[in-house]
């Protein structure tokens, strides 16, 4: 019976750890799959338009769109969300599929801008996925795919959901420490007693 309870406790811990991992690192696998500057998966694919302009490369459209992470938004959404940028830098980079792409980097300065640069350079760290790092509380860069094949990149934004997750994790940690300390005190109190 005791062995059964221990097994139950063990599987309980495994399940808890697995759930925590899902909460903490929902895009962990996706970030690695990106392989380069961008991580994550796309939430939706664009509908191919009949008015497509000449491409900057001869790679089929479907193949190119699968290379990117972050979150894709429309140009109108980006305008409403971000407003006028401080400056726009244009750069050409090779994406994860090895295709030459033109990126229009919308620079708004500030911390999020640095994060965006980090994502673009591929200099992300696993620390960014930890709640004690400020990057944890930001989304991935947003991008808008233009009709000419170029991509507008917008900086990450602060995420309230991640803030709540971070507060939850910190609260859990504090509670865990509190339980550790009080559990020791309780054992000490009962040390003199004949009763368990």
């Amino acid at each position: 019976m005791k062995t059964y309870n221990q097994l139950k406790s063990f599987f309980g811990i495994v399940i808890i750890l697995f759930v925590i991992k899902l909460f903490l690192f929902p895009d962990f696998a996706d970030a690695r799959r990106g392989g380069g500057s961008f991580g994550g998966s796309r939430t939706f694919k664009p509908r191919p338009t009949q008015t497509a302009k000449p491409q900057t490369s001869n790679i089929p459209r479907q193949q190119r769109t699968s290379s990117f992470g972050g979150t894709r938004i429309s140009k109108e959404q980006a305008k409403v969300k971000y407003g006028i940028p401080k400056k726009i830098e244009q750069t050409k980079r090779v994406d994860a599929d090895g295709n030459q792409r033109t990126y229009n980097i919308y620079n708004y300065e500030g911390y999020a801008n640095g994060l965006m640069t980090g994502y673009l350079m591929g200099h992300t760290s696993w620390l960014w996925m930890m709640p004690f790092h400020p990057a944890f509380y930001y989304s991935k860069p947003y991008y808008v795919e233009n009709e000419d094949g170029s991509i507008d990149v917008y900086p990450p934004t602060f995420s309230i959901v991640k803030l709540i997750i971070g507060i939850t994790i910190f609260s859990f940690t504090i509670w865990l420490l509190y339980r550790l300390i009080t559990a020791k005190r309780k054992v000490g109190k009962l040390h003199n007693s004949s009763f368990i």
Partner: protein
């Protein structure tokens, strides 16, 4: 004749039990119910040295694998506790009761019920929000005396 003593101040964390002079540990529950009408129940439940849980009659059975320990309280601490001592061979006629070494007479009934907290183990014990020492009293003792004028006195021991 076995001697069974309970020293306590009414709190579980300050309750120590002695059996034939040795301090016991690993106890789960003690239930003693004796009265002059012939009722004689003295039950002890404990976790033995082999981690098994045993239930025995204190004065009639041999308490196997009983866990004992060195005295955990100093003499000074013990002086501040009240000690109930029962000497018996399992028959009411041969049962003597002492409170702080003072022999008691005219007892109508004696009731003692001490129960340790639920012994959750491992992670469940750690995660449990319930205090290991329960806030609700699980230590109850009552002794009823008959006075010379025939009236009764109900007293708590600890």
């Amino acid at each position: 004749m076995p001697t069974f003593s309970i020293s306590s101040n009414g709190r579980l964390e300050k309750t120590v039990v002695f059996y034939n002079g040795e301090q016991l540990t690993g106890l789960k529950e003690i239930y003693i119910n004796m009265n002059e009408e012939g009722n004689f129940e003295a039950i002890i439940q404990y976790q033995g040295t082999d981690k098994k849980v045993y239930v025995f009659n204190i004065f009639e059975d041999y308490l196997i694998n009983l866990k004992t320990t060195e005295p955990t309280l100093t003499d000074l601490e013990l002086e501040n506790l009240i000690t109930l001592t029962i000497e018996s061979d399992g028959n009411l006629e041969n049962t003597s009761i002492f409170v702080d070494d003072e022999y008691q007479e005219g007892i109508v009934s004696l009731y003692v019920h001490i129960k340790g907290a639920d012994n959750k183990d491992g992670i469940r014990k750690f995660l449990s929000s319930k205090y290991y020492i329960p806030d609700t009293p699980e230590l109850y003792t009552e002794i009823i005396f008959r006075n010379e004028d025939g009236s009764f006195n109900k007293e708590k021991i600890f």
